[in-house]
């Protein structure tokens, strides 16, 4: 296990190693749902919640089930299955408990099952050798970072919708260019702390 304060990992995951802007993970939903700030908040919160919970769950599954049985090489398959099952379970629960929350958050959940940022966070925590607390901090931070990026993107795209974009770049084209520029801007943070 590596000796890094979980708070440092949390901070790094939000800013210096933003999973979306430095690893470019979770692009599909990032481009699809960033047209409106309101919807991007919904998806952002859903990602924060699911990422935090699945990194914790996957950490437990990995170290208490896969490692003792010597089956670490199955981690990809198991992580995907755990994420899918967890998201499904949460969807059923939210639908039962709160229809309002379901409409605001629940409709994004199926989108999250196949969001590669969720899978990426689980894989990174194992590769980087985080312990349980560090993993949860990392999952939460990566979620917050992802949400931050998509809300910022939605804000920019709402303004772009009212401006004159050259026709060949309209839509996904300009969005990808903006994502690139945002990613350059976030690289400015990387001088603050270096965490791998």
């Amino acid at each position: 296990m590596v000796e890094i304060n979980p708070f440092v990992i949390l901070f790094a995951a939000i800013f210096t190693n933003n999973i979306l802007l430095s690893n470019y993970l979770g692009m599909c939903s990032f481009l699809a749902v960033s047209r409106e700030v309101k919807a991007s908040y919904g998806l952002g919160f859903a990602v924060i919640f699911v990422m935090t919970a699945t990194t914790a769950l996957n950490w437990l599954v990995y170290f208490y089930m896969l490692v003792p049985a010597g089956l670490e090489h199955f981690w990809y398959i198991i992580f995907i299955v755990v994420i899918a099952a967890f998201v499904q379970l949460v969807e059923i629960l939210i639908e039962k408990i709160s229809p309002v929350l379901y409409i605001n958050l629940g409709i994004f959940l199926p989108l999250i099952t196949v969001n590669c940022a969720i899978m990426g966070a689980s894989l990174f925590m194992i590769i980087r050798g985080y312990d349980f607390l560090q993993s949860v901090a990392y999952g939460f931070g990566a979620g917050v970072g992802w949400a931050l990026a998509i809300v910022a993107m939605a804000g920019i795209r709402q303004r772009i919708a009212r401006s004159n974009v050259p026709a060949p770049l309209a839509g996904a084209g300009i969005a990808l260019i903006i994502a690139g520029i945002m990613s350059l801007a976030f690289m400015g943070f990387s001088g603050m702390i270096q965490v791998q």
């Binding site: 089930m65 089956l71 499904q88 309002v100 605001n104």
Partner: protein, 367 residues
């Protein structure tokens, strides 16, 4: 060898545990049991499987709440009053409900899921709405993109409605369309024809129902329709009538005019029909006949872009311009509009500007 079995066991075990958890959740958490839906203080009580939408469950029980969009929450027609149960108003409904309606517990029934016993109130005339099985007797091509479909009712054999109302046509699964849907169309037949109904349907590019009608539906096919729905019908009054329609919006007026002709009405009626060019005009012979039968009826077709070969002598310009030219003579008339939302909103603006009170304007918007 033993490792293979261990890995299969562990991986299978993890999968199985998750599957069991989900199955249990589905059985115990997502199970809402049977719920009782009480309609109009005990007039009818339904027992339905919980978990489905209120609109879908009511339709399945033969109570046809009006809905033009088929439950997607985009038309705002399926309002019902929910006196008990139903949970909080959802964000998907708020844009369709006025604050007053929200206070009165009005909800969009397509968005309300049945999770508990409900007490609801619906207008009693909705019980009159029935589902009819019919057979297509005639499909007439009116223009390059408009067809007229006549349906003989088989079960029940007759319908009571007010001329100008609409019905919903059920589209079965066909081609790439994997789910049966229904869409609303104005009746173009008059209410004295009780054993047949008629619709005028314009082909909408990539429209599920219109494509089916135009390309798949054949004479002698069996179809299902439900209705009647809507509040669009000629009001009793002596005031002169201005009818404005575009495209397939002619449908309700065809029925209304035939109704008036049968009653030998002397009411003053002017029917403005907007089209792009000559090839979009239809039913001109019928209108000429009606002009002979009705002493005070006048049909005014207007083309917005007549083609050169049309040699068009009549009115030109958008229908709003043509109506606008009447000036303030229309102030004492009643107006009936049927067509696209854009056309209707523009016409209402012109009519009210020329002094017609909003209360004398009736319309049927295609959405």
């Amino acid at each position: 060898m033993i490792e293979v079995f261990i890995s299969m066991g562990v991986i299978g075990g993890i999968g199985a545990i998750l599957a069991v958890v989900l199955e249990l959740a589905d059985r115990y958490i997502a199970n809402y049991g049977e719920c009782a839906v009480d309609i109009n203080d005990g007039t009818r009580t339904l027992t339905v499987e919980g978990g489905g939408s209120l609109l879908g469950s009511l339709v399945a029980e033969g109570i046809f709440i009006p809905s033009a969009c088929g439950g997607r929450g985009s038309c705002g027609y399926c309002k019902v009053k929910i006196a008990e149960g139903g949970g909080p108003v959802l964000p998907t409904e708020t844009s369709w409900l006025t604050p007053q309606e929200q206070k009165n517990n009005m909800r969009l029934s397509c968005q309300v899921k049945i999770r508990e016993d409900l007490k609801i109130h619906i207008p009693p005339e909705l019980f009159l709405i029935k589902e009819y099985r019919g057979r297509v007797t005639r499909i007439t091509t009116l223009t390059h993109d408009i067809k007229e479909v006549r349906i003989k009712l088989l079960e029940p054999e007759a319908i009571e409605f007010q001329t100008g109302q609409y019905m919903q046509l059920t589209v079965p699964e066909y081609g790439d369309v994997e789910e049966s849907v229904y869409r609303a169309y104005s009746l173009s037949s008059p209410s004295f024809e009780k054993d047949e109904v008629e619709f005028i349907i314009r082909l909408v590019p990539e429209g599920i129902c219109t494509t089916w009608v135009h390309q798949f539906l054949k004479e002698s096919d069996e179809v299902t329709v439900n209705g009647p729905h809507g509040e669009f019908f000629l009001r009793d009054s002596d005031k002169p009538v201005i009818m404005i329609a575009g495209g397939s919006g002619l449908a309700p007026f065809k029925g209304m005019l035939r109704d008036l002709a049968r009653q030998h009405s002397t009411r003053k009626v002017t029917f403005f029909f907007g089209a792009v060019s000559q090839r979009d005009l239809y039913h001109r012979e019928l209108m000429a006949e009606l002009e002979k039968e009705l002493p005070n009826f006048k049909f005014v077709p207007a083309l917005s872009k007549p083609a050169e070969e049309d040699r068009w002598q009549g009115e030109t310009g958008l229908i709003t311009d043509v109506v606008g030219r009447l000036g303030e003579d229309i102030a004492g008339s009643q107006a009936y509009l049927c067509g696209s939302p854009g056309m209707i909103d523009a016409c209402i603006a012109v009519l009210t500007k020329n002094g017609m009170p909003q209360a004398e304007i009736f319309y049927d918007k295609f959405s």
